[in-house]
């Protein structure tokens, strides 16, 4: 597995070279995961703190307990939890602003990018309607690409709990998306043009 090749031969990251390799491989995905949740400005701080924390705790990382990226995302998730208001604020912004995006030369990729920009505000509204725990597992799965087992390791919960939480979160998001047509990629039906109230903390 590519992620594990960043670690030392024993899978640990105690040596400077192993930690450096882990940083180079995992920094960008961790940054983007955080930036998607709290915005790029705060993400710089939190992603930096994630790896500073990882360095301080590097001796405690045990490959037998889970993958390196699950461990790193676990640290990131804990840091993001302390910025709940920033995440809410980011969701409110995302729900109201069509994001600026660079269009690739490839026609299909460009269409896909336009579609993403088009859908982003509605998806932000839907994400704002699921619970914090549900949002956490959804984004660890979709954005960080963690498996059920890795989510369990990152959140330090039982694998079965991770599986059921993700399952419920997916159902909740689908419910929040309402009448979204997954085939046509559009919202249809009456009353879909308005953002719904976000749940109170």
């Amino acid at each position: 597995m590519k992620a594990e090749r960043s670690a030392g031969e024993d899978g640990r990251i105690v040596s400077p070279a192993a930690f450096e390799a882990a940083f180079r491989l995992h920094y960008a995905p961790v940054y983007r995961f955080i930036a998607g949740r709290v915005g790029p400005a705060l993400a710089e701080d939190l992603a930096a703190e994630t790896f500073a924390t990882a360095y301080r705790r590097r001796a405690s990382f045990d490959p037998a307990q889970g993958s390196l990226r699950a461990w790193l995302f676990g640290i990131a998730v804990n840091l993001v939890r302390g910025h709940w208001r920033a995440e809410q604020h980011q969701l409110q912004l995302d729900a109201r602003l069509v994001p600026e995006t660079e269009l690739p030369d490839d026609a299909d990729a460009a269409d896909r990018r336009v579609a993403a920009a088009w859908l982003a505000p509605r998806l932000a509204v839907a994400l704002g309607q699921v619970t914090r725990d549900q949002r956490e597992v959804l984004l660890l799965h979709a954005w960080a690409g963690l498996s059920h087992a890795e989510i369990a390791a990152a959140l330090q919960i039982a694998p079965g709990t991770a599986w059921s939480r993700l399952s419920r979160a997916r159902a909740a998001l689908r419910e929040s998306l309402g009448d979204f047509d997954f085939d046509l990629w559009v919202f249809s039906g009456p009353g879909t043009g308005q953002a719904r109230e976000e749940p109170r903390p």
């Binding site: 500073a52 301080r56 505000p121 046509l184």
Partner: protein, 337 residues
């Protein structure tokens, strides 16, 4: 057929990669952690040596090994800090209230106080015609380049023509019978979908959200949020009375002695709005989104037009000859694989 997880993954493609500054900041944080770690190790060794003053040769060897490592860590931290500074210098100007015209061109102190302005806006609000057509030319500038969009909005109907480097990229609009039409020039395809289709619209216009709610009216693809004159004037009134927009003098914009309004420094979206003193409708808007990477600035020049047959015709998205009709999501997903 896609699902909600794939939807999340597709939208996550919009999240920017870390900037050079972000990499440098993380490198500096790790270097600082390394330095603290080494300093802690030194302290532990020193304490251990004081408590157990044996093994002099081993202790000396450790100290000889420790000092250079610590020096290297400090040097690494300094280099990383320098990289952060260099990256910050390399980034383009990010002044919070950059606008057009420039800040130095303002023509003096506020001539209208807030209470009076709110009173005048109330007058304009009651007089606002409900069915004017808004035509906006929106220019977006980032470190990556400049793009333009021409937007038309008339009640629930709207159209956005987006172009880059003078070439059309896409044309999208919702017509009178709530039919969405999208034309993609890159792939020479188009689609049509019946039913109410609109991006997320602002629901609350309270003080907390009014600034972003106002700015979003002028973003490409967002006129579906109803940029009617009454809505816009109402948002302006709320923003002024809440203090999220304050009067910053007068400036001439397209021959009009416009009132200049600027947003609070605490706002994540820095706005400068020039309004026509006769109608209190905005004639120019500059949005600088400082929290994003790369930083971008949007300038919207706005004309308010009468709903003549010719102007209403501009709200219709034409399908260019030879373009192929597609089912939107399916085509995009399949094309990406």
């Amino acid at each position: 057929m896609t699902d909600e997880i794939e939807l999340l993954r597709i939208v996550s493609e919009l999240i920017p990669e870390p900037t050079t500054e972000a990499w440098a900041r993380a490198t500096a944080a790790i270097a600082a952690a390394k330095e603290a770690d080494l300093a802690h190790q030194d302290t532990e060794r020193y304490t251990a040596d004081r408590l157990v003053p044996t093994g002099l040769s081993r202790r000396t060897a450790r100290r000889r090994g420790g000092a250079p490592r610590r020096t290297m860590a400090v040097a690494s931290a300094a280099l990383a800090a320098a990289a952060v500074a260099a990256a910050a210098v390399a980034l383009p100007g990010t002044s919070h209230h950059s606008g057009v015209p420039g800040p130095g061109q303002s023509s003096g102190p506020p001539a209208v106080d807030t209470a009076y302005l709110v009173h005048r806006v109330d007058g304009a609000l009651s007089a606002a015609e409900p069915a004017e057509i808004a035509r906006m030319t929106v220019t977006t500038s980032t470190v990556l380049g400049t793009s333009t969009a021409e937007e038309w909005s008339y009640g629930k109907r709207w159209r956005v023509m987006f172009s880059r480097a003078g070439k059309p990229v896409f044309d999208v609009g919702v017509g009178s019978s709530s039919v969405l039409t999208m034309v993609f020039y890159s792939s020479q395809t188009w689609l049509r979908k019946r039913g109410q289709v609109s991006p997320a619209a602002p629901k609350q216009h309270g003080c907390e959200r009014v600034t972003t709610a106002l700015s979003m009216l002028f973003f490409p693809g967002m006129p579906g949020a109803d940029a009617s004159p009454a809505t816009v004037v109402s948002l302006l009134r709320t923003a002024i009375s809440c203090g999220t927009l304050t009067v910053a003098g007068h400036q001439r914009v397209d021959g009009i002695d416009a009132i200049k309004l600027t947003s609070s420094r605490r706002s994540p979206v820095a706005e400068t709005i020039w309004v026509d003193p006769a109608t209190y409708l905005p004639v120019r808007l500059v949005v600088c989104h400082t929290a994003s990477a790369p930083v971008y600035q949007r300038t919207a020049n706005i004309s308010w037009l009468h709903p003549t047959a010719r102007n209403k015709a501009e709200l219709t998205v034409p399908i260019p000859a030879g373009f192929r009709q597609v089912r939107f999501g399916t085509a995009v997903i399949q094309g990406s694989r």
